[in-house]
Symmetry: C2
Subunit: 541 residues, 2 copies
């Protein structure tokens, strides 16, 4: 430990207490671990317990020119977990700041600190007997709604575009100054948690996917429970129908159907959640041949639902059963001829609007569970998706999953693509080609987040314990991201090492971002390099 580090740690101990400044090897090793290879060293972990402690820590960081990397709960799996993009940053963990500081049932919001988790928020609302639901992430229930919203992660339910349903950020600036976005800067402003824009320039966007401030509080709007809820599933067997299907879905979504968005996944998405890689059957070879997948899913699912090549899934939230059935009719009319299977599941029934093998429909009904979705409707977060990151592991999926610890390899690449069948297929082709050439299964997800754009997510999953796999996966990711961005499909979200893979801007944006970073963080102490800000600054000096 250098003398400088010892001094700054001492100063931080004075702020947060010695027990919240960690330097033991286990803590540091854990802080340096992500779901892919990283090289940044973390000299210490500090855990402030309040907004004022955050401010004091930031002032110390400035005095000592010691950079810090704040994370909420640090579950940014697949994008870098808790690991800072730059070497030598002290990790600032906010998980002690886990208070739900405001809740209003009528006006439907909560105000939370960054250490609050989805699980905690869900349980809080159920305990209150609330009629409101959280838009949850597909990742672990132990992740942070604040962290996820700042990364613009997509959620579930009517407020799936989470970044559009939060407001009133409380922010500690890199200088230690404090600001509130929106109306919150005015004393007693009654609409501070109810209206995003405030008056004057709107600054929320400055603090998302950036390093221009530490968000220590945020208001999240909550949707009321639907009066009627149904799930819609559909599938196609022939990949050549995908263009037409996506175009039909776009039209529906633009017309205001599927208000909670929808998801279309390829066949490989299913086994990775249900089982692990058939290492023995394949004698250790990778990737898994598509033919085996076909055999496997047909055997497992007996030609039922999940035998589709592409599977669509939408949750539909309604104000009444009548409204729901009217909308169902519109979906049936638009999709009927474009899919091989179309099923609606509500509280009581499974309705087969279209089923390629009518004689097997009854058997298939067993796969759908009416009423099972109560928790999902209420926004209960689930760990089900997470199981997929253990797909290539040779060890069993543990009860308490922790992909960082368990050396699960996971890298996401998530380009934003026009909601146009041909564009979607073009982006998928780039992804499939990259994955195939580097020996990974195509695990693909099309997140239909609006009537105009989709987020295609490619998951590279592997076993970090197999030598050479880390390098292979990163090469695959880097090539894929470069090719996609070069073709105009730019990711909506970046991992800690991805910003350098984006094309050069056509305008003066880099200079503007550099100027903002230098002005707001003159000592470059806040998460240097995050989303590119602060590292380019250093390079140019």
């Amino acid at each position: 430990m250098t003398e400088g580090l010892a001094q700054v740690l001492e100063a931080w101990r004075g702020v947060v207490g010695a027990e919240h400044v960690l330097t033991d090897p286990a803590a540091l090793s854990s802080a340096q671990s992500a779901t892919f290879a990283t090289s940044s060293r973390v000299p210490a972990v500090i855990r402030p317990g309040s907004r004022e402690e955050v401010r004091a820590c930031v002032r110390v960081a400035n005095e000592h020119r010691s950079p810090i990397y704040p994370v909420s709960t640090g579950k940014n799996w697949g994008y870098g977990s808790r690991v800072p993009p730059a070497d030598g940053c002290v990790l600032m963990e906010m998980r002690r700041m886990n208070r739900i500081t405001d809740y209003d049932e009528k006006l439907a919001y909560v105000t939370v600190e960054p250490g609050v988790t989805f699980r905690q928020l869900y349980e809080f609302l159920r305990e209150k007997g609330s009629n409101l639901m959280v838009s949850v992430t597909g990742s672990t229930p132990d992740s942070s709604p604040v962290g996820n919203a700042l990364e613009r992660g997509a959620g579930s339910g009517p407020y799936a575009d989470r970044a559009a349903h939060v407001c009133g950020f409380e922010v500690v600036l890199p200088t230690g100054d404090m600001v509130h976005t929106g109306f919150g800067r005015f004393p007693g402003a009654t609409a501070a948690k109810l209206h995003r824009w405030g008056v004057g320039p709107h600054l929320d966007g400055l603090f998302a996917q950036s390093n221009l401030g530490i968000v220590t509080g945020m208001t999240m709007w909550l949707a009321p429970m639907p009066d009627y809820f149904q799930s819609c599933f559909f599938g196609i067997d022939d990949g050549s129908r995908l263009v037409d299907l996506m175009d039909a879905l776009q039209t529906l979504q633009l017309r205001g159907l599927f208000r909670a968005g929808l998801t279309v996944r390829n066949d490989f998405n299913v086994p990775v959640r249900m089982q692990q890689y058939p290492w023995e059957a394949l004698d250790g070879a990778t990737p898994m041949p598509p033919r085996l997948l076909e055999r496997m899913r047909k055997g497992f699912w007996r030609d039922a639902w999940w035998s589709s090549l592409w599977i669509g899934w939408a949750e539909l939230y309604h104000a009444s059963r009548e409204q729901a059935l009217a909308e169902r009719k519109l979906i049936e009319a638009a999709l009927g001829d474009r899919v091989d299977r179309l099923v609606f599941v509500d509280e009581e029934d499974v309705t087969f609007s279209r089923w390629d093998a009518p004689d097997r429909a009854e058997a298939a009904a067993g796969y759908f569970d009416p009423g099972r979705d109560d928790e999902e409707i209420q926004g209960a977060p689930s760990e089900d998706n997470l199981r997929g990151v253990y797909w290539r592991k040779r060890t069993a999926v543990p009860d308490a999953m922790d992909p960082d610890r368990d050396r699960c390899g996971v890298i996401f690449c998530a380009p934003t693509v026009p909601y146009d069948g041909r564009h979607i297929v073009a982006a998928l082709e780039i992804i499939k080609d990259s994955l195939a050439r580097h020996g990974f299964e195509p695990i693909l997800n099309i997140g239909c987040i609006s009537g105009r754009a989709v987020q295609v997510t490619a998951t590279i999953t592997y076993d970090r314990d197999i030598e050479g796999e880390d390098g292979r996966a990163l090469r695959c990711h880097d090539e894929m991201l470069r090719t996609l961005s070069g073709a105009g499909y730019v990711p909506y979200r970046l991992g800690i090492r991805s910003v350098g893979l984006l094309p050069e801007p056509v305008d003066d944006s880099d200079r503007l971002l550099d100027t903002l970073k230098k002005t707001l963080d003159p000592n470059n102490i806040l998460a240097p390099g995050r989303y590119g800000l602060g590292v380019k600054t250093q390079v140019k000096e």
Copy 2:
């Protein structure tokens, strides 16, 4: 003309051509006229014709330290029209930049320059045979969608929260640098016009209600025409029912009904649009006594629709008739007992869900015109609302209305209020009290823009040709805004002279805004004082 001014004008002439640099008294006098008293002098008007000319003009402004005040079409009536908040700014009018530079029917957007008007955009779409509609302003069809979106004006239709339905700003910074917000900074980014957030910090908000850049292009999303359209009208006679009514509306809106928002207006809103002040009958006295209003409306409307004390109006956009009727049923159930009148009007019928005098319902049907709304559905902008600004004039409403020229007095005060009946009534009481004490009619509008907040708009309207009225109106406005803000009801939008009336922030926001302004506009040449930025900077130096 000073030598300095002569030099900078010469430089601008070199950029935009002599015919686009105006210094004649008529042009300057017009540029200095708003719908209330202002004192800023405008030494010249410049009219760039392209983005590159804007950049060159900005560079000239920096070289000569000559501040400019950019407006789109300059119809910011009631908030300051084209008049700069600071003295001595050259007006930069963008109306020559009136190109619609992109249009996509499938992905439902247009890209426009700031000089494009609502009328032009509407006609463009009709000419294309488009199935898309513009979210229009209630003001003149000659106003600018870009200008209005940057002011966060509310619109009509499903995309009424216009600021949430625009993206991809092309911005000339105060230094002359050029940036694109969202994905637009990357070459060939296919989702630049389809997804707001881009990757990294999201900067749209910096350029709205501010003076940190000149927006020279913007993408606006357009909603598809509804497959079924209906209007919903309702009214109450007893003011004590307003709290309960607003609460019921809030619940409906939060549940996803009234997706295009709705409006509740008081009785005085009707005569100001239909006739002018009864100067003769009142022997020149103001304000008009409520009793006269009551007599007038009862005589005129024969106890029919508009005799209500509060009148609600919602446009409902649906994906099918069946969906529409299902939603109508929910609205009927929630409002039936809370209103005296409730009427739905669709293409074919007028349906009286509730009517206090059933025997007169048939006569009342004449006031509703099924099918009349075709143009409204399509987003045709209308001048109907504008007539209200001539209410207090002694001259007749001209065919070509121009409130600046005609010395119509109009000042808006528009606080943001929680969507909670008691808060709404409390804000209304402050407004009514201010208006009454200063001798103005209470012309009130409750814009229900989301399930959580409303924008209450008070209109102070008067005749600028009557001596003393300018001063009285401004005193009324200033007192009203101060009282409202002090009670926590902060305006969502400010006139050019209002920023000083806001309370002091509780945090370091002013310092952050000052820092941003100083950094991005080191010579303070761009619209100094707009929304407070740049004037406070000067004051502190």
